[in-house]
Symmetry: D2
């Protein structure tokens, strides 16, 4: 029997044609990982782009599809069908795409957000559970070695009981919006039809929520959100500040922005406990600041001997040789592959023991956006989670 | 007539005996400034400490007082009386001390907070206005050259219209409280009888409020505050997160903490506008990060040729020779002295054209604490300012 | 005719078996690049490691070779032979391996150093020139986008005439050596038979030399080197400090170390001109500090609009999404592939117009090590270059 | 008997008139220290400046002198004569000024360099020894609390045996010189008649030498110096790179520059031992980076509980409240005052147990400059120390 142990895993992908961002990143990272093989794809709704991308990747024309539903159904019939599918479409297709793959019996890795509504996310969750399929959601920042190390340290009680969490994620790529007229910005992220009901919180605020949840295990009890739409005629939020109360009594403060001059992509998490603190900055993802109460801040470096085994297992190159954005995807997919192989060979452990974000994280992410919207729409009230 | 132009200004001080912190800092800074002369004092409620401090400072015994009211009244009768008085007592004496000095006809510089209630602050404001006396409040961080430069740049429109403000002020000196029992911490700051109704917001949150107000001129329209009392038996807040809506539509998020492991005294302000951004960190107070939309972040340095005249006037030593905490006090007192000399010589300009925090800032500071308390006490609701 | 334009380039590799470092990095990077296909290999002198590595990579057993000479000769006869070969062996095989490939008519990319002696390097240079073959040397750090941007800015005269260069490259992975006994360190880098006559200068000092040469075009006129062997019984240098005079009158100071506690892999270059300065730190390789005389230091970020076209062409993901060590290799191989395709289609430009280090850089690198050894062996005298 | 225990110490000063830099800093720092009283001065060779400075400082006209020799002789006759004198003139007067004061029986604190030649320095040393007078030299950077902490840690063996030292001190205030014509720069520092035979090494290189010596106790065995005079018509060095061999076998590399674009005053020292490393940066003088072999770099902060008693004794304000340039002078003078009081009361300990730089440091500093000049003048040869 093929238990996937001694061969590369086959995958198909939706998205990633010429001009795309995140789909290309997934494909490159899957190549970097060294254990995956692309066998089919649906790269673009533009026919020519789709065909030429498939060709340049060496795919058989027959396995380059105009439509993901067709891809799901056709590929499901092949003996050498993909071991899993990857969905990297625009937000508005995530739900339909995942649904098509799950119903055709495929495991799936989907870009975040899992869907545009919580109801959709929960439906996907049900399907995956019923069919016993893996459904991962690529919250990439939890794939960094030092994000995993942060989680390990926190779980081991190194910083004590958590009291406060400061999470921020500023960017400035939409700052032209803030000056009033649209300045000709063309991106589906600011179009409610495609992006969904939120732009900033949905795109990046949700990464704060996931990273914090991943590292700390804290559960949100209630939140109070201010969602700003800076610039005349702006339809969706481009800045948000959110207060959180967690169920353990800790307080959180999140800030995300797409109009913060000078910031590239600065997801930064600071977690404070009774015995110490941890700080993670994804733009310096090879490092972690670790403080023990009474001691001096320490700058931990990926690849060093003091890093715990669980995180170190993902480190591929020595300290000082930076692993970057692609490497974080490699780590998520490596963990996804571990789970897949374990599943096929009947040795699947509880999913929380793996290191990729599961459908539960995907549902949480969609709920977070909905709760922020609910708070903001009702005068920034506190909303139960 | 003595118009104060060609001599040192004489001052008396309350506080600053052996073992004191902030009173000693004021006295040292006044010496560093080079234009002030200590002539009388009431240094400690401990008789011996009071006497020995006065002696070591070379004061005539007759001008070392056991009581600030007595000092006010006695000194007011002298021909060579102080030109102004300095109040650096514990919070619970600020109001009474300032009142005594104002009523005796003295100009005053008072440590923040100006008082424990807004009503008291407004009373002091009225007295000062009626009597035509200067009443400064030493929000020291606005005394840094680069804080002044930030203000100048913002006023000149360099960052456009302000959209968001992120202010934070973490410390960890009370982290032992967070672990439960008091661990024998002995400080009046955690005693409601002395500190007033707030510890953390009153002591350091108020610095965020003042610095932002000083730099931006933004007015708070409403706020929503979470004030935490981490640790069993903790009577006053030691951590707070606050959302702000300013009258111009901008959003603010403030965080202050005394239980944030690894932080010394990290007041950091980030102000984002439609055309750029500015970041000031008091622990690196000789620098300012300046971003123009589309450009790379620049690290401006105090003492360099590109610093504007208004701020540069306070720079005493060349770039790269750090000015620190004492120097910020020097700057506040220098501006206070300028105003005092102008007042005496009949050339006083509107007070907002000087660079020291006035009684209006003091009233604002007390109001800010009260509004945070009101929000927190009522379920963290939004409170009109 | 097959002009390589519309297909992946085929390559064979020597090195990179289980347990190897740099060979695996090359292979991973070539996968990440997306335009290369591994077709044959000689992964390890250990037969089992060699076979299992080849198998896990999906290679035909017939194309997994025990010997690189055999691989060169056998593959040269195939119609679907590799378009180029990659040499990632230990230092002592670089010369023989490159020679075998060149003589069999293959283009080659070789790890640095190109050889153990200058005479060998020059021989390889001659063979490559005579046969019209590309011979690249993977000085990886010049592959970073921001290293290329530094070069562009300097070439464009942005910092004026260069006066001083400070280059450093500290690590600490051999610090146990410094305490005396060997502490059981087992690495061929400290074995003269394998590493050659230098450890530290040969392994990392040479990266300083290459990066500076790449960015500035400066030519060394003379140098004075101190090469330390800290720890009892240490056979090769593990620390070196080198003074340089360049032919334009500029002064350089280089430092490399493998016993500098706290440093991972901190190649840092600072280049000072009459009109400004540039600083590059490979551990923060997505940034560049740029100073114009009289202005504030600016932190430039890869992927931003102000980055010049030449460097930006290599940027694959947006600013703030870190590109790391693998990405720098991707860039070198991409440029190598450009040259290869241009060569095959008869449009090869002068090699200095491409962005990968050529055999000339390889020869320079070996000469640099020899000159340092000559200086150190003769009492740290100044040696003509 | 007046043993100086219960009163402020009286001092006279040479230098510090209007427009002066370092003399004013000394005077301000002496005021900040709180235990010194200015009683006489010779502030400027400009009569009016001298008189008006004295007047503004409240000095009796009779104690404002046109000439330091006259001041020495006249003041020596007073009963209330100064306890010590401070020399802050231009370099060319240091020797004569110190000599006049010593011969009149005064203890002296002198700005560095102690003199323009080693012979002069040694003569001053002899006079001070014979007369039993204290002669301090204000190498200010060793006055920082964290510089003292570095010394304590190194003395205690925390970083093991020292192997390498990297010292640098770049500035850019003379960068206009580097472009060729003088650009009208007017400063005595570039005039050999006043500055002496070196500008850059004499002004700032000597601070590297002193700080390293202070922290480590290492003795220089030989050195090799390149001293650059960038810009047409430049008479004295404005950049230098120096290799050092210490008597314990350690290697040093120093770099100082006045033409390094973007740098203010960046004295930075890195000291590497077999067991760890320490880094001090005077522009961030409230911190120290401490590394223990195998551990993560730690950022130590002045004022924290883990700081040793010897250094902590100089800390006046809590961690996070920056002490700056003035505070370092305060510390030097405090230690000088301790020694003076101990001397007067017959309890003087060996001078190396105090924390101010003594005449021995002054002699070393002048020798360092001479040795660099000797190396540079002879083709950058190695020179015995």
């Amino acid at each position: 029997m093929d238990n996937l142990q001694n061969r590369k895993l086959r995958y198909g992908i939706v998205g990633g044609g010429a001009g795309a961002f995140i789909g290309v990143v997934h494909r490159h990272a899957l190549a970097l990982a060294g254990q995956f093989e692309l066998v089919c794809g649906c790269f673009s709704r533009d026919e020519e782009n789709n065909a030429s991308t498939g060709g340049s990747l060496g795919l058989d024309d027959a396995r380059v599809y105009a439509d993901f539903t067709q891809m799901a159904q056709t590929e499901a019939l092949r003996e050498d069908k993909p071991d899993f599918m990857v969905c990297t479409t625009r937000n508005d297709y995530h739900y339909a795409c995942c649904k098509a793959f799950l119903e055709a019996g495929f495991h799936v890795m989907c870009e975040k957000p899992l869907s545009q509504t919580q109801a959709q996310a929960e439906e996907l969750q049900r399907i995956a559970h019923v069919k016993g399929l893996l459904l991962g959601v690529s919250y990439v920042y939890s794939g960094h070695v030092m994000a995993m190390e942060a989680r390990s340290l926190i779980r081991a009680g190194e910083i004590g009981e958590i009291m406060m969490v400061m999470g921020e994620y500023p960017q400035d790529w939409l700052i032209e919006m803030a000056e009033g007229a649209n300045h000709g910005i063309s991106t589906w992220r600011i179009d409610p039809q495609i992006a969904g009901r939120s732009n900033c919180v949905g795109d990046i605020g949700t990464h704060i929520e996931h990273s914090i949840s991943f590292m700390t295990g804290l559960r949100i009890e209630k939140l109070c959100a201010v969602m700003d739409k800076f610039g005349a005629g702006t339809a969706l939020d481009n800045n948000a500040a959110i207060l959180i109360k967690y169920s353990n009594g800790a307080t959180g403060s999140y800030w995300c922005s797409q109009v913060a001059a000078g910031y590239d992509n600065a997801l930064k998490l600071r977690i404070f406990g009774t015995a110490g603190a941890i700080e993670f900055d994804q733009e310096k993802s090879n490092y972690l600041t670790v403080v023990r109460k009474g001691g001096a801040p320490q700058l931990w470096s990926r690849g060093r001997g003091y890093i715990g085994d669980a995180a170190a297992a993902y480190s591929r190159i020595p300290a000082g040789h930076p692993e970057g954005y692609h490497n974080a995807f490699v780590n998520l997919y490596s963990s996804f592959a571990d789970a897949l192989r374990d599943l096929v060979s009947g040795r699947l452990r509880p999913l929380e023991q793996y290191d990729f974000p599961t459908v539960e994280a995907g549902v949480d992410g969609v709920r977070f956006v909905e709760k922020c919207l609910e708070s903001a729409a009702n005068g920034n009230i506190w909303v139960k989670y």
